[in-house]
């Protein structure tokens, strides 16, 4: 399925939504649960809808 994405690049939170056709001319929109990505230094948490940049030494 081809995702149609919308990104709310906020000041404190970034939210990603995906639209997708269901039926009867209706479109379903989901908020994407952005999961954790592991990293040597710990983990990059892009929890649900939050994306705040942190740079760690």
């Amino acid at each position: 399925m081809k995702p149609y994405i919308g990104i709310d690049l906020g000041t404190t939170n970034t939210v990603v939504a995906c639209a997708d056709y269901i039926e009867d001319g209706n479109v379903k929109i989901d908020i994407l649960d952005i999961e954790q990505i592991s990293d040597r230094c710990g983990s990059i948490t892009v929890k649900k809808n939050v994306a705040v940049l942190h740079l760690c030494g």
Partner: protein, 481 residues
């Protein structure tokens, strides 16, 4: 060299490494001189946006197992040319394709979500009728900004039309300010408890930052708890809710056990919710400002729609309902409307040809006046604020060449020609290939594309061969095309 972290974890780590955390970078986007330096690496606001968008893109791709190269990205309605352009460059660097990117304003996206939700609920029970054109005020209170817009909404069968009528000036007032009010209150409690003068308490700037950082997070947690526990239980006569916690090693090795009730907290934030509050800024002023700009009274507004995380807090909602004297429209998750509306627009836009009935028409407007500076004269207006995009206009012979090889064009933006904050968007030296007589008139074509990004073209009037494309990141000289 370290690793870069993006996310909630990062936010929490502000406690530990506050000087290595970049936040609220969106407030600086479009400002070419702003940089943060961490170790030996420099980060511009555009770099930060790029990193956030890359993570978002990578996650969507992983989730769907498909390459994603297009997106609808939202920007504040008040964003100017530079701010939108910089956001677009960030998206391009993050791997999105330029021609698959669309930028729409946050309130437009939020409204699309509202009307779509209303359409879905139509079958169940219509609450807000948009079959006649309505004036909707979108109030967005987020983490760092308060954006107000008045929009005209019309639904005609399956067609939606959303038009921006007026937008508030960019107002940096948001959740962080609501945190600080509570932080000061807790510090006051701490100083009474320990019999010390809290104003003189943190000797070292690091200690001070640490204390503010820790307490800010506590206040945010308290507020979110109040929201979840007190929904429906507000106003006089209802019980109070209390947030309690203990912070170990808070100051000079001592711990701090504290509590704050919703009533106490609401008292702290009152100045932010009241016109004329003693802090000098509040959420009511931008509302009044926007109504004035649109030449409307509050009674002319048909619906007030609340978006942004801070509007999940009942006391904020009540302040707005008191101002308008009526109920507002708000969802349980006011933080999601903008992204949902953007995704919906993306879907409609990509499937325009396939969708048999129903379309979305949006009318973005230019956020500021654009002027051309003219030597020894007042600037000339090229595009006025509120002009609907896309827009195109040719200004024949608007300036004259002042030396034999070309002319310098200064493009300015601001509220009026007397605006003390008038900004120079771009200064370009146009050099023509042929020798041109001083005094020769030059024509300029101004274009605002659908993303509200400005493009200029200039040529010797009557001689289109001597044409120069003045894009803002590159100047291309057409040598007789």
């Amino acid at each position: 060299m370290g690793h870069e972290f993006i996310g909630q974890l990062a936010k929490n780590m502000k406690n530990v490494e506050y000087d290595r955390v970049i936040y609220n970078s969106k407030n600086y986007i479009g400002n070419r001189n702003h940089v943060w330096q961490i170790d030996n690496k420099k980060y511009t606001p555009e770099d930060v946006a790029e990193k956030i968008l890359s993570v978002a893109k990578a996650n969507v791709e992983r989730f769907y197992g498909e390459r994603v190269d297009g997106a609808v990205i939202t920007v504040p309605a008040s964003f100017n040319h530079d701010q939108i352009e910089s956001t677009k460059n960030a998206a391009k660097s993050a791997g999105f394709l330029e021609d698959r990117l669309i930028f729409i304003s946050e309130p437009t996206a939020a409204l699309l979500d509202l009307i779509y939700e209303e359409k879905l609920s139509d079958k169940r029970n219509t609450i807000h009728d948009f079959s006649k054109p309505k004036k909707v005020l979108v109030f967005d209170l987020g983490g760092g900004t308060c954006d107000v817009s008045i929009m005209n909404v019309e639904i005609n069968g399956d067609d939606y039309k959303v038009e921006e009528l007026a937008i508030s000036p960019h107002t940096q007032l948001g959740g962080v300010d609501f945190d600080i009010c509570g932080v000061l209150y807790l510090l006051h409690k701490y100083s009474i408890l320990n019999d010390i003068d809290h104003k003189r308490m943190p000797h070292h700037v690091d200690v001070k930052r640490y204390i503010f950082s820790v307490l800010s997070l506590e206040i945010e947690k308290a507020r979110i708890m109040f929201s979840s526990l007190s929904s429906g239980l507000t106003g006089e006569g209802y019980g109070d809710v209390v947030y309690r916690n203990s912070l170990e090693n808070f100051y000079t090795g001592q711990s701090f056990e504290f509590e704050i009730s919703k009533k106490e907290y609401d008292e702290c934030i009152k100045p932010l919710l009241t016109k004329g509050g003693n802090l000098g800024f509040n959420i009511i002023d931008p509302i009044i400002d926007t109504l004035n700009k649109a030449n409307l009274g509050k009674e002319d507004i048909d619906e007030v729609f609340l978006v942004g995380g801070m509007t999940a807090y009942s006391t904020v909602r009540e302040a707005i309902e008191n101002f308008f004297g009526k109920k507002t429209i708000s969802y349980l998750d006011p933080m999601y409307s903008v992204a949902k509306g953007a995704a919906l627009y993306n879907y409609y836009n990509e499937n325009k040809k396939k969708i048999e009935k129903g379309k979305i028409i949006i009318y973005p407007v230019v956020a500021e006046n654009i002027y051309l500076d003219v030597k020894n004269n007042l600037p000339v207006l090229l595009v006025s604020q509120g002009t609907k995009a896309p827009y195109e206009k040719v200004h024949e012979g608007i300036v004259k060449v002042d030396n034999a090889t070309g002319i310098k064009l200064d493009i300015l933006s601001g509220k009026s020609i007397y605006d003390p904050k008038m900004k120079r968007l771009k200064s370009v030296q146009l050099t023509f290939t042929d020798i041109i007589k001083p005094g020769t008139p030059i024509s300029i074509k101004v274009t605002f594309d659908k993303n509200r990004i400005l493009h200029l073209e200039a040529w010797v009037t009557g001689n289109f061969k001597q044409r120069i494309d003045v894009t803002f990141d590159k100047e291309v000289l057409y040598d007789g095309c």
